[in-house]
């Protein structure tokens, strides 16, 4: 029985992989590669002077950090709420410490202007 299940699974893997290879290669036979002039960015006849691999400030970065901070808080709070009654004061103290540390992160985000959408 187990062998039969494994064989079915193997068959599914082979069919899926085969379909993947077919999709990747068969339609590609008639597909021509994109010529070089079309790989350049459209600048109305102009050209880039520097390589496009450059570091710039992602303006929404502090806000994403803040979102993660709140999200992590919720991830901890759900299981905490389940055991809160049985654990009692110990659970309350642990959550207090956690929220205290998190608040420092939020205050830091505030100072960095994370609440101001630019």
């Amino acid at each position: 029985m187990e062998l039969k299940q494994l064989l079915v699974l193997l068959l599914v893997v082979i069919i899926t992989a085969g379909f993947g290879f077919w999709v990747q290669h068969v339609p590609g036979e008639s597909k021509k590669s994109i010529p070089w002039p079309q790989r350049a960015p459209f600048l109305g006849g102009g050209q880039p002077d520097t390589h496009a691999w450059s570091r710039f400030h992602i303006r929404y970065y502090p806000m994403t950090l803040l979102l993660i901070a709140f999200e992590m808080e919720m991830m901890f709070m759900y299981p905490w709420a389940v055991v809160y009654v049985s654990e009692g004061i110990k659970a309350l103290a642990e959550m207090g410490m956690f929220l205290g540390i998190l608040s420092i992160g939020i205050l830091y985000g505030w100072r960095e202007g994370a609440f101001k959408w630019q």
């Binding site: 010529p35 070089w36 002039p37 079309q38 350049a40 960015p41 459209f42 600048l43 109305g44 006849g45 102009g46 050209q47 880039p48 002077d49 520097t50 390589h51 496009a52 691999w53 450059s54 570091r55 710039f56 400030h57 303006r59």
Partner: protein, 427 residues
């Protein structure tokens, strides 16, 4: 049977066309916008055909080749220009003389291409990397985190960011002369810090602008004031359509362009487009920017000057306009939104004036100066180029704000001498 039916159905769809506008190509571009057979697109990568309209300066020929190479093959090139067709395209490009036939002929040519009756344009650019790999080993080709010349272009070196003083990489590129975001012929070297413009150097000035013929005629002979004002209103409305298109309101822009060709004296501007649509331009990015200060202020002319409170207008010296009770419309702020409002108000005023002038059969008096839609047009000093004002206005703005500011100015000089010679006038 079904395939034939489907092909017939597909052939009814408008063909996407990328326009390359040269000197005196404005009328052909407008005809292209109005043609139901084509859709004007903002990037050659979305196009099936390239339409070259007007004369292209010799120094921009290489840029034209690059744009041509960015239209995916199989493609069609339509040539609506007094210039000779490049030798490589002579066998495949379609030459169109009548601008009103341009859209139709492009559609037919693309259908022939799809049916295999016509061959695609050859490539004008070689299919080779424009800047081949020159790095050392893997990675970016330099040492550490910076430097090197991967693909022949140097890596950016960090410099102080304009907005928050961080050490970040600037992105340097040249844009134009055939970018839909800039006037035809204008090219600029741009330095970007993220989306903030840190540098704007004008590499080439825009091509000279050709005004509607009636403004040149008014310099030489009396013309009906109604005709002058209808041409003025149509000019402003087309510019407003371009501003709407820039802000993503393509359907309103298309409708406005169609209205501009069938204007009637006395029509209200609110009948042409929902007033709230034009009012919404007050809220777009950059609406409050683009204010010209200090000594450069005097260089603004026409609607741009009046949008900042300067009531100079050559029509005040024309007895016909005085008799019609003409008073220039002015704004106060001199910002991008004020210039757009000025165009709207002047278009509305021109339609009212046209109705009054048609009733009184008013004729203009040639006095050596005509107020054109872009400023005072005289025989000695037609409006000159002001694209050199842009660096001081654009540096520090975000990209979207800068594009709004660019779209609110009349930067190009006005063609005069050769137009007058073509019309058989002049002194």
């Amino acid at each position: 049977m079904a395939v034939t039916w489907l092909r017939r159905l597909a052939n009814q769809a408008p063909v996407p066309v990328f326009p390359v506008v040269g000197i005196a190509g404005e009328a052909a571009l407008e005809a292209l916008y109005l043609s139901p057979a084509v859709t004007v697109v903002q990037s050659p990568k979305r196009a099936r055909a390239l339409a070259v309209m007007g004369s292209i300066d010799y120094r921009d020929q290489q840029a034209l080749r690059r744009v041509h190479g960015q239209v995916p093959a199989p493609r069609v090139t339509a040539w609506c220009s007094a210039m000779a067709v490049p030798q490589e395209l002579s066998g495949s490009a379609i030459v169109v003389d009548a601008t009103d036939q341009l859209g139709q002929q492009i559609q037919q040519a693309v259908h022939s291409l799809d049916a295999g009756q016509q061959s695609s344009d050859p490539n004008l650019c070689p299919d080779q990397p424009p800047a081949p790999w020159k790095g050392v080993g893997d990675g970016h080709g330099g040492e550490g985190m910076m430097g090197g010349k991967p693909y022949g272009r140097p890596m950016a070196m960090p410099e102080d960011d304009l907005r928050d003083g961080l050490q970040l990489d600037p992105l340097v590129f040249s844009i134009g002369p055939f970018s839909p975001l800039l006037p035809p012929g204008m090219a600029a070297k741009v330095t970007l810090h993220g989306d903030v413009i840190a540098g704007w150097e004008v590499l080439s000035r825009p091509y000279e602008l050709t005004l509607p013929a009636v403004f040149y005629q008014a310099l030489e002979q009396p013309v009906a004031v109604a005709d002058l004002e209808l041409a003025r209103a149509a000019f402003h409305i087309r510019r407003l359509a371009a501003a709407l298109q820039l802000n993503g309101l393509g359907a309103h822009a298309r409708r406005l362009r169609h209205h501009a060709v069938e204007l009637k004296p006395g029509q209200s501007i609110d009948d042409l487009v929902n007033a709230r649509v034009l009012q919404s331009l007050r809220w777009v990015a950059g609406a409050g920017k683009g204010i010209v200060h200090d000594e450069n202020w005097i260089r603004l002319r026409g609607p741009a000057a009046r949008a900042g409170g300067d009531a100079r207008d050559a029509r005040l010296n024309d007895p016909a306009y005085v008799a019609l009770g003409f008073e220039p419309v002015v704004q106060k702020q001199g910002s991008c939104a004020a210039r757009w409002k000025q165009w709207r108000d002047e278009a509305g005023q021109a339609l009212t004036l046209a109705a009054a002038a048609a009733k009184a059969r008013a004729m203009s008096s040639p006095s050596g100066a005509v107020e054109s839609p872009v400023g005072e047009l005289t025989k000695s000093t037609p409006p000159v180029d002001i694209s050199d004002l842009m660096p001081s206005l654009l540096v520090g703005l975000e990209w979207s704000e800068a594009m709004s500011v660019l779209a609110s100015f009349d930067m190009a000089a006005v063609r005069y001498t050769d137009v007058i010679q073509l019309q058989g006038g002049g002194e």
